[in-house]
């Protein structure tokens, strides 16, 4: 009803409203395709080679011991062996060093088919309690390992802590024991912040069920690095965790004697346990994946580039040929 508006209704010009914003209009011409493939190939193959050679310098010894460390008498029923506290669990393994390993050499334990990432497992912890001595009653998420029978809060509570890995390794070579340094195996962020330096284990492993390793109640959690490592839950059911490090070089063809205290029950669920000794380089441990991936992708790209070049030679298409327009292709009667 307000027709009396004397102003012109002419829209004002702006590049936005007239949809004329300056723009780059890339056209995926064969040239671009070939160039992109070549570039990727040219960049990726060297990266891949570097990564692969780095991974190649890593020396890694993997020894699966869960089956071999069960005495023959119990091989049919390893569970009764592992659950019997009276049987001595020590088991000696000898590892052959294939190539010279330069210190630091890292000692890992590797568990397989162990679902540290199961939902029930992952959430059964209390980060607050681990960090803050005031929050020891914060066991809400820790079901079913939250409290002892007399309703005292367990510190650290939850399934993760309760199931702490308790196999131990002693290494020696040529009769001399090798010191395994257990310091610095956890991430700084964990030891400094996530695990309190004034939080001490309390009523740990005093629930109804027998769990894994026990903790020294005199040592604050921030120094219980085994626990910290264990509690950084792994993403997959097969995982490795750092056990410690050795500061001496191992010569090639040397034999390392590993004395394994085989305590952890993986027999019930068919899990596997492995002891791993590995050196590292700038990309970490032995990991061919990255190098192989880079080389494969680079190679594929080069292959694709060559194919496209051949196509370009044998079946060229002139850019912007109007005869390719659908209405020009249709037969006109």
């Amino acid at each position: 009803m307000e027709q009396k508006n004397k102003n012109s209704k002419k829209p004002s010009y702006s590049r936005f409203s007239q949809q004329e914003l300056p723009a780059w209009k890339p056209i995926l011409t064969p040239g671009w395709v070939i160039a992109s493939f070549l570039t990727i190939g040219a960049l990726f193959i060297p990266i891949g080679l570097v990564a692969l050679s780095a991974s190649d310098t890593v020396v890694e010894i993997i020894d699966r011991y869960d089956e071999d460390c069960v005495p023959d008498a119990y091989s049919k029923n390893p569970e009764s062996f592992i659950q019997d506290p009276d049987i001595k669990k020590t088991c000696v393994r000898s590892l052959r060093v294939p190539k010279k390993m330069v210190a630091p050499i890292f000692v890992y334990y590797q568990l397989e088919n162990f679902y540290q990432n199961h939902r029930r497992f992952v959430k059964s912890r209390s980060d607050k309690q681990l960090r803050d001595p005031e929050a020891k009653n914060d066991t809400y998420n820790c079901f079913p390992e939250a409290r002892t029978a007399d309703n005292k809060p367990i510190v650290p509570c939850g399934l993760i802590a309760w199931s702490l890995f308790n196999d131990t390794y002693k290494l020696s070579t040529r009769g001399k024991p090798i010191t395994i340094d257990k310091k610095g195996i956890a991430w700084k962020s964990d030891t400094k912040v996530k695990f309190g330096s004034n939080v001490y284990p309390k009523d740990f492993q005093k629930g109804g069920l027998i769990g894994g390793a026990k903790l020294d109640e005199k040592v604050p959690l921030s120094e219980q690095e085994d626990l910290i490592v264990w509690m950084r839950t792994a993403a997959l059911p097969n995982f490795r965790k750092l056990y410690g490090k050795i500061d001496i070089d191992l010569e090639a063809h040397e034999t390392v004697k590993a004395e394994v205290e085989n305590n952890y029950n993986t027999y019930k669920f068919g899990g596997r346990k492995k002891l791993v000794l590995s050196t590292t380089t700038w990309i970490g441990g032995k990991n061919d994946f990255l190098g192989v991936a880079y080389i494969t992708v680079g190679g594929l790209c080069l292959f694709m580039a060559i194919n496209f070049i051949l196509l370009y030679v044998f079946r060229p298409r002139r850019l912007g040929d109007p005869s390719y327009l659908s209405w020009n292709r249709l037969p006109i009667a």
Binding site: M1, E2, K9, P11, S17, Q18, Q19, E20, L21, P22, A23, W24, K25, L28, T29, P30, V33, F106, Y108, Y115, N117, H118, R119, R120, F121, R131, P144, L159, S163, W187, V193, L209, R232, T233, A234, A235, L236, P237, N238, R240, F269, S278, T280, T281, I283, G284, G285, N287, L290, A293, Y294, L300, R317, L319, G320, D321, P322, L325, I332, A333
Partner: protein, 1253 residues
């Protein structure tokens, strides 16, 4: 109308003698009867209004005059708004998921789902609030516009909202009525006022309202304050054309009818002011009660989207099913470290009850996988469309019409992309294709042709033949006014006296000045006087006479006064009066109109004008040469798209006239079949005519219509013309617009064939043979009205004919289509045949025939049929349809089509109010469809498929992880990652693409209209596209997931430390965000600054977020993850490798596709790759380059002539039938009568309406 008459009759009880029709009042003012005593209307639903008495009305508690069209108020906004939002399935779904995530089965914390949902709701609610706020402001402007209310003997200016029932108000000229008023008095004599109802029904001709004689005096405030009437009337209702009530005034009961009522929303014209009293206010006014909610249309793409969403939901369920089965199988006591045998409050992992595990796992996994349904999709689409319509369509300078100062207007933002898929356009003719602006353009007098103009149609034809004819600037001295666009010095300013046949010229001009039913209004000077005519043609002819020096300035029921110049000698002006003895009305059967008049000197002449066929049949024998020349000229005019009329006269001797007049008077006074008898009698005198000449009127095509239609048809759009006009006119315009040409095979299904006439004759001859022997030669054209033959038999015959025709044509069409001739087909059908053809048994044949035709013209169709045809194609063929029209008669079809477009032009607002888009000119359809529609379609397809892709990819990575977690439903990503993925990290770029992406520029879109076909074929969003996308999604998710978890096998730093779950998921999420954002860039045709900013910004936003998040939340698994990751070389190698590997397939696909199967737009891009886009091109005014007239004439002379056997016809009154009236079953009166009636009423009027400014 009988309905309410009966009602009023019964209401007034036994007093039937006075229960005359209130309508009759204005026909015969003395009929306002006076009744004694108070009669209370008995009907339960009535209201009593005490005029000028606020206290008395107070008891009745009538509603105020304030209106509110807002949806919400402060209190209801939240509940109602939320309710509206949750009516959407997607939102309801997310609400359910959010509720589920509060339960212990949920693996994710509630925020994961609550945050996106509330953000989406928030945005939607803000939008709702914004729109409602605008409505509120609009209401406030209306409510606060002022009106003069009578208070204490003075007119007080008060806002509309203060108005109450019973108040007396004054409304000035051109003002709007603030409420439904009872007209009391008017400054015009006789208590008459004129109203324009354009806002109501779109009719622009003025309506007359007349006050009761008793109240005529209440004009001044002093007098008006004495008015103490009591109105008893019906309760508020929505019927615009009915009103029943009584006014009780000084103990007399006066019946009231619709002609006493002034409706809110109408405006006062040609009247200084009126005084009225308020009957209905605010929401109870008829216009408000008519305000229906326009049914909201959803676009086809959105409906398709629903299917995709449903499919996604199916995928989601099967994913859950797989996971749940896995979970039920997995749970086992052997995993002693999980202590599954201990159950807290949840049985989720109870190995002893695997069924419960299965069921609960389904719920768990649904919450986990819920992002597969993109929650922000709908709100993003809404936002994109809203901006598209408000910022782009409404602001497009290419669609701004400067003459009428009208920009394009998107009235809904739902249908932008539908514009990109239109396959059928249904167009009204008058006012849409043509301007509905009749202009006298050429004429031929005694075989001499006058007029130098070139019609747009000729220009169009010339352009198609490669000759460029520029629009020519008229010489400044040429007379140019509305209705007159004629330039030939030989006739102007008395120069006709020197022509070979000045006597004929004189007759020609007199015929124009006398033979009509036009009504002059305003001051009697050539400049100020305005003609009110039933059809613009008539006005144009009278205006022409005026410009030739025969100025018709006054009409009384018996006389016509003409100021004639140069008759006796050059320069002399004299007034001549002609006595009008008889008017033989125009109607569609007669196709002519005659006037018998007596000159001042006693000469008796019959002037006749009509369609050439009719006139030629009635010419006296002799002068064959002249007839032949004239016929050729008629054909030429017809080719040029002009509407022609022949003028003829006959000198009558008094004897012949007297004897005829007796018969005429008899016929006129007969009570039965009056019309038919009048027509018969007219036949007796309209013969032996002498041809004077012919006129050619241009119903100007709107600017650029032919080229627009050509462009649209090249775009694969089929255009149907649905018009109320006659077959011939329709065909003419169709030719003019190049919808039909002579190379086309035409199928004509008409009810005006000889066979049908024969049947009608046969039936009626039995009755007719005795009576009408003398006029047997004219029977053929007259039959329909003359004889009310056996209608059943005729109907059956027509039905059979239509059926046979349809089947015959259908077969023919099939053989032509399958043949190799490639001939194009066209179908012409008239409304009567259409009625039979729309019968269910024939409908499919009609549909199949018309779909194989490239153009279809339906003429003589009613508004209802227009809607039926539209619906036929929409439902029957399942094609996307667009209707375009400008009048109230197009409302049905506009609402029936997928997209309704209104021409915001001259014919009121009704069509625009019902439409989805309003444009000022038909030619803007090119921009609307080919540019905006195509882009919108393209963009929304991209947006939708991208949403689909990114959420599927995200969810699939989660799905793969499920297999590695013992199907426990452990989430891979942190809660916040998941909730912000949709609303922050991937939200903005896709909106930018939805707004800015364009494959080819606007000018190229119009240059290559064929590009539009991809939209019609829905090439960008079909199952194939979705399927391809899904494959890429699966591939990419596998790459991202597996590459990320591969890093968990060994330590990644030289310190040998291992990564945990949250480190790896952070790395995976980083890769994912980069991948999907880059993927978006790969989809773009253009990359503007905004693209780079938004894509870069989204990735940056993720990093900023994680940098902060990883420090702030100590108790989360994600604490410090990103810093841990950034300490490894592996991370950097990954974020380069993963996106490239993931996108390699897409890249390859795009490369191969472009190389081997290029799409049209890609070729066009390549053709024009080196051209910089012209900025501001096409926005400058075009066509202001003047060409000398000689050059144009020469160019025109060179044209190859296209012959067409069609000549133009005039005299179609535009299809003004009121849509509402026909819906109500009310027939509006014949327009010519209306005008004459007005003339008789206004004989005393020397109105003070001279000040028309």
């Amino acid at each position: 109308m009988t309905g309410w008459r009966e009602a009023s009759g019964s209401r007034q009880g036994g007093d039937s003698a006075s229960a005359g029709t209130p309508l009759a009042v204005d026909r015969n003012p003395s009929m306002s009867t006076i009744r004694l005593g108070r009669v209370q209307p008995q009907a339960p639903g009535h209201r009593t209004v005490f005029c000028n008495d606020r206290e008395a009305n107070y008891l009745a508690k009538y509603k105020g005059n304030a209106v509110s069209t807002t949806k919400y108020n402060v209190a209801t906004f939240l509940p109602k708004g939320l309710y509206e939002q949750f009516r959407r399935v997607a939102n309801l779904y997310f609400l359910t998921i959010s509720c589920l995530s509060f339960t212990p089965v949920s693996p994710v914390s509630p925020i994961t789902n609550v945050i996106p949902l509330s953000l989406v709701l928030f945005v939607s609610l803000v939008k709702e609030a914004f729109e409602d706020w605008k409505r509120l402001q609009n209401d406030m402007t209306i409510n606060n516009s002022s009106v003069e209310i009578l208070q204490e003997q003075r007119w007080e200016s008060l806002p509309w909202k203060k108005l109450q029932v019973g108040d007396v108000v004054r409304v000035r000229q051109d003002g709007f009525f603030p409420a439904d008023l009872l007209l009391l008095a008017s400054t015009n004599p006789d208590g008459v006022c004129y109203t324009e109802t354009a806002n109501l029904d779109g009719e622009t001709n003025l309506k007359i309202r007349k006050a009761l004689e008793k109240t005529w005096d209440y004009v001044t405030p002093e007098k008006a304050s004495e008015f103490k009437g009591e109105i008893h009337c019906e309760q508020p209702n929505n019927s615009l054309y009915t009103f029943t009530g009584n006014l009780i005034l000084q103990k007399q009961t006066l019946p009231l009818g619709p002609n006493h009522i002034l409706l809110r929303g109408c405006s006062l014209r040609n009247t200084e002011y009126i005084v009225g009293t308020v009957i209905f206010t605010g929401h109870e006014t008829k216009v408000m009660m008519n305000a229906m909610n326009v049914p909201s249309k959803r676009s086809t793409l959105e409906r398709k989207l629903d299917k995709v969403i449903a499919t996604l939901f199916g995928v989601l369920l099967s994913m859950c099913l797989i996971g749940a089965i896995g979970s039920a199988v997995f749970v086992s006591n052997k995993y002693h470290y999980l202590e599954l045998w201990i159950n807290g409050d949840s049985q989720q992992f109870n190995p002893n009850n695997r069924f419960v595990v299965f069921v609960l796992s389904i719920f768990t996994l649904i919450t986990l996988y819920s992002p597969i349904i993109p929650i922000s999709l709908y709100v993003s689409i809404e936002m994109i469309k809203f901006i598209q319509s408000t910022k782009f369509i409404n602001n497009d300078l290419r669609m701004y019409h400067s003459e009428t100062n009208t920009p394009a207007l998107a009235r809904t933002s739902n249908l932008n992309e539908e514009l990109g898929q239109v396959e059928y356009i249904f167009s009204d003719k008058t006012g849409t294709l043509t301007r509905n602006l009749m202009e006298f353009f050429k004429c031929s007098i005694s075989g001499e042709t006058y007029g130098t103009g070139v019609t747009e149609i000729e220009i169009g034809a010339a352009k198609r033949n490669g000759v460029d004819v520029k629009e020519v600037q008229k010489p400044s001295h040429a007379v140019r006014e509305k209705g007159f666009n004629f330039d030939d010095a030989r006739l102007m300013h008395g120069a006709w006296r020197n022509e070979p046949n000045p006597e004929m010229c004189k007759e020609f001009f007199r015929c124009l000045a006398i033979c009509h039913t036009v009504l002059p209004e305003g001051e009697e000077s050539p400049e100020k006087l305005r003609y009110q005519a039933a059809s613009p043609d008539e006005a144009a002819l009278v205006t022409a006479a005026k410009n030739f020096g025969f100025f018709f300035y006054r009409r009384t029921p018996t006389m016509i006064y003409v100021r004639e110049s140069h008759v006796e000698k050059m320069g002399k002006v004299q007034d001549a009066a002609y006595e009008i003895l008889n008017i033989l009305e125009f109607n569609s059967t007669r196709k002519r109109q005659s006037v018998v008049c007596r000159y001042g000197d006693g000469r008796l002449v019959l002037y006749c004008k009509g369609a050439d066929t009719v006139i030629y049949e009635r010419l006296a024998s002799g002068s064959e040469e002249l007839k032949k020349i004239s016929r050729e000229q008629l054909e030429q005019y017809g080719e040029a798209g002009l509407r022609t009329l022949c003028l003829a006269y006959r000198d009558l001797s008094p004897e012949i006239y007297e004897s005829w007049n007796e018969k005429f008077i008899q016929a006129k006074s007969s009570l039965r079949d009056r019309e038919r008898k009048l027509d018969e009698v007219a036949e007796l005198i309209e013969k032996d005519l002498t041809l004077i000449g012919c006129t050619a009127i241009e119903d100007k095509l709107q600017e650029g219509v032919p080229s627009c239609i050509e462009t649209l048809s090249r775009a694969g759009i089929k255009i149907w013309v649905l018009t109320g006009d006659k077959l011939e006119t329709a065909i003419n315009i169709a030719y003019a617009c190049k919808l039909i040409n002579n190379d086309m095979k035409q199928f004509v299904i008409s009810s005006e064939t000889d066979e049908i006439r024969d049947v009608e004759n046969r039936v009626s001859n039995f009755l007719a043979s005795v009576l009408f022997i003398g006029i047997i030669q004219t029977i053929q054209s007259q039959v329909k009205l003359f004889f009310q033959g056996d209608q059943v038999e005729i109907a059956q015959f027509i039905r059979e004919t239509v059926k046979n025709d349809l089947h015959k044509y259908h077969e023919e069409a099939q053989s032509i289509i399958h043949g190799s001739s490639g001939q194009k087909l066209s179908l012409l059908i008239d409304g009567k045949c259409l009625m039979y053809a729309l019968d269910p048994s024939l409908r499919s044949t009609l549909l199949s025939l018309s779909l194989s035709c490239s153009s279809v013209v339906c003429c003589r169709v009613s508004p209802l049929q227009k809607a039926q045809v539209t619906r036929l194609v929409r439902k029957g063929a399942n094609k996307i349809t667009l209707s375009i029209g400008d009048g109230a008669n197009d409302v049905g079809m506009i609402q029936a089509a997928h997209v309704g477009v209104g021409i915001s032009g001259l014919e009121g607002m009704q069509a625009v109010m019902a439409s989805d888009f309003a444009i000022a000119q038909f030619r803007f359809l090119t921009d609307l469809l080919l540019v905006h529609g195509r882009w919108s379609y393209l963009r929304l397809c991209k947006v939708v498929s991208y949403f689909f892709y990114k959420n599927l990819t995200f969810t699939l990575t989660q799905f793969w992880y499920t297999f590695h977690t013992g199907y426990s439903g452990q989430r891979f990503y942190d809660d916040w990652f998941q909730s912000l993925y949709n609303v922050i990290f991937t939200a903005l770029p896709v909106i930018i693409v939805g707004l800015l992406d364009k494959d080819v520029s606007a000018s190229l879109s119009k240059k290559y209209p064929q590009l539009y076909k991809e939209g019609i074929d829905n090439a960008y969003f079909n199952w194939k596209v979705v399927g391809t996308l899904a494959c890429f999604s699966v591939y990419q998710s596998i790459i991202v997931y597996n590459f990320a978890v591969a890093s968990s096998t060994t330590g990644l730093t030289s310190a040998g430390r291992m990564l945990g779950l949250w480190d790896i998921s952070t790395a995976a999420f980083t890769c994912l965000v980069i991948t999907v954002n880059l993927r978006l860039l790969m989809m773009c045709n253009t990359v503007t600054r905004w693209h780079s900013i938004s894509v870069g910004g989204s990735i940056l936003a993720w990093f900023i977020f994680i940098f902060i998040y990883a420090v702030v939340f100590v108790n989360k698994g994600t604490y410090y993850t990103i810093y841990v990751l950034m300490g490894t070389a592996y991370f950097y190698l990954m974020i380069v490798l993963v996106p490239i590997v993931a996108l390699l397939c897409d890249f390859l696909y795009q490369g191969v596709q472009r190389w081997f199967y290029p799409r049209d737009y890609q070729i066009v891009q390549e053709i024009h790759r080196h051209e910089p886009e012209a900025i501001g091109a096409g926005l400058l005014a075009v066509g202001n380059q003047l060409t000398p007239e000689e050059e144009r004439r020469y160019a025109f002379a060179l044209l190859p002539r296209e012959r067409s056997k069609h000549t133009g016809f005039a005299f179609d009154s535009p299809g003004y039938e009121s849509f509402f009236a026909t819906q109500q079953g009310v027939t509006t009166p014949q327009k010519p009568w209306d005008v004459i009636r007005r003339a008789s009423m206004r004989q005393k009027t020397k109105s003070p309406r001279a000040s028309q400014s």
